[in-house]
Amino acid sequence: MLFICAITIYPIWYVLVNSLNDGVDAMRGGIYWWPREFTFENYKAVFQTPGIVTSFGVTIAKTVIGTITHVFFTAMVAYAISRRDLYGRNFYMLVGVITMFFSGGLIPYFLLIRDLGLFDNFLVYIIPTMFNFFHLIIFVSFFRELPTSLEEAAKIDGANDFMIFIKVIIPLSMPVIATIALFQGVYQWNDYFAGVIFVNNPDLQPIQTYLYKVVAESSSNQMMTNAAGSIATKTVTSQSIKLATMVVTTLPIMLVYPFLQKYFVKGMLIGSVKG
């Protein structure tokens, strides 16, 4: 067990340590446990790289807006479908279940996004990810457990179904909302592919797409040389900037997830056992 933990965590530790070491010195290798020449220069260089701050802004915006709209929209549809008295429920479920097994695949999807005018548009990160049928099932099985007497009481007070959803159901559903928000938040934060295929404008490029281009494409060296050159220090290398960017990209999730762990374990339970 301890061995599994060790090999799980060590590669991450290695990146962190090397990103905190002087870049030129790190090229000599041999830094495994602790930085040899401790420095924050790499991180300074990351934030001085042209375009990277914009990319961060795009990522934060798409994660926050995308997660909120996803949770709200999916939960709303799920609430309506979870009501046993909804006319046509089985039909709506069938419409959804079919989407879990069949899809048009990459190319028709790409053509659709283009035809909808979402190409090079910030909304491409939000609207196509607003809804997810698997998440809907998790929501539905949670809503089923809620006592119906509360809804009835609200109805007697004159609330309509939408108001019941907003005022009664949402406050009661925080555990499942936290779970889905975490799933979707991580997805939004980590997704690079939408930025690769649907966006040409560098001002709309999320940080993961930026990093993808650095890691996977040969242009990386050039990009990084530009970055290193622009601050005119000799201690930063393209490699050390790459490592620092990776740490900066991952850190927010690493900080948030231990606190949300108890929620997502519960959420996986609801989703897997009953779904």
């Binding site: 067990m1 933990c5 799980t8 991450i12 990146v15 090229m27 041999g30 495994y32 929209f73 999916t74 709303m76 549809v77 309506a80 009501r83 909804l86 006319y87 046509g88 709506y92 419409v95 959804g96 069949f102 899809s103 048009g104 695949g105 990459l106 190319i107 028709p108 999807y109 790409f110 053509l111 659709l112 909808l116 196509p128 809804f131 049928f133 309509n160 179904d161 939408f162 959803f165 934060w189 980590n190 690079y192 295929i197 993961q208 990093l211 650095v214 890691v215 996977a216 490592l243 990776m246 990209t249 991952t250 690493m254 997830y257 762990q261 374990v265 996986m268 339970l269 897997s272 056992v273």
Partner: protein, 311 residues
């Protein structure tokens, strides 16, 4: 009792729908979304049977029948792509499927709650790291000046430094091992949940029968989580042709192409980089059809063997 006439029935339905106008409206928004983002692309699949180009609309493009499919089957890349897709996925299934079960069983045997929690927290961690960052870690580790070379040189297993990602020989191993590294803890959650649901009475009675810990694991825990294992197995089989697009897109390069070109990558290259929309759609459709047949047959076989199935 008088049977309600058709007219009365319609009236009743109309009344129900009007009384549920908010609920129906909320559902309708979801249905409209699914229609646009799921069903229109399904309609778009017909371009696999046409010669679609950017200057024509889908309905204007001429029909070409199965030409695109024939072209793919005759393409020299067909066998390479098929071999890589099936090879990577099957090995992933054979090695990667049982490991989370074993991990969950072992984790369940830990008596210290604190240690258990710590192990879990750490083992989920890589799931939250994006493939982009992980790709960065891997390229750093596997480079010729990277850590793996240091270790292998130190142990005397290799005599000179190599860049592991620059040759097709090790590509499958890299893809499979890094995938297991990333998802082991996460995949174990479901099994841990299933184990937690096993009735304690079963353990008590087996203690009376004199079973030791291993026997309990084998005769009580495993049979109890069999339904969960079955369902996840069916899903894994149907996903056999999905050889983790994100991961391979990041790790592949022109030097390891003969081992890294899988169906999804091929579709991406042909469709989006070369703009051969109809051809790429046909390749993708072929994959989806095979995957669906696999799903149905896995479901049927498992149903015959032990009664549980997805549908």
């Amino acid at each position: 009792m008088v049977e309600p006439t058709k007219k009365e029935k319609y009236k009743k339905i109309k009344k129900t729908i009007i009384s549920q106008k908010y609920l129906q409206g909320m559902t309708l928004l979801g249905v409209v979304w699914m229609f646009i983002f799921n069903y229109i692309p399904m309609y778009g699949l017909i371009i696999a049977f046409k010669e679609y180009s950017i200057i024509k609309t889908i309905s204007e493009a001429p029909w070409v029948g199965l030409m695109q499919f024939k072209e793919f089957l005759q393409d020299e890349n067909f066998w390479i792509v098929l071999k890589n897709t099936l090879g990577i996925s099957l090995i992933k299934l054979i090695i990667g499927f049982p490991l989370p079960i074993i991990f969950a069983l072992l984790l369940n045997e830990l008596t210290s709650m604190k240690l258990k929690k710590a192990v879990q927290t750490i083992s989920y961690l890589p799931h939250f790291i994006s493939w982009v960052v992980l790709g960065g870690i891997l390229t750093t580790w596997l480079a010729d000046i990277g850590v793996l070379n240091d270790i292998l040189l130190g142990l005397g297993l290799i005599s000179e430094r190599t860049n592991f990602l620059a040759s097709p020989d090790n590509f499958w191993a890299i893809v499979i091992l890094s995938d297991i590294w990333k998802e082991l803890g996460w995949s174990a959650i479901i099994y841990l949940a299933a184990i937690a649901g096993v009735s304690p009475e079963l353990y008590e009675s087996s203690t009376i029968d004199g079973a030791n810990r291993f026997q309990k694991m084998w005769h009580v825990t495993l049979p109890s989580i069999r339904p969960t294992i079955t369902i996840l197995f069916i899903l894994a089989v149907s996903g056999v042709l999905n050889s983790n697009f994100d991961q391979i897109l990041i790790l592949r390069n022109s030097l390891n192409e003969s081992a890294s070109n899988v169906i999804d990558i091929y579709v991406y290259q042909m469709g989006l980089q070369n703009a051969r929309y109809s051809y790429a759609t046909a390749v993708g459709l072929l994959k989806a059809i095979i995957a669906f047949i696999l799903l149905l047959s896995a479901n049927k076989i498992v149903k015959k063997l032990n009664g549980t199935s997805l549908f």
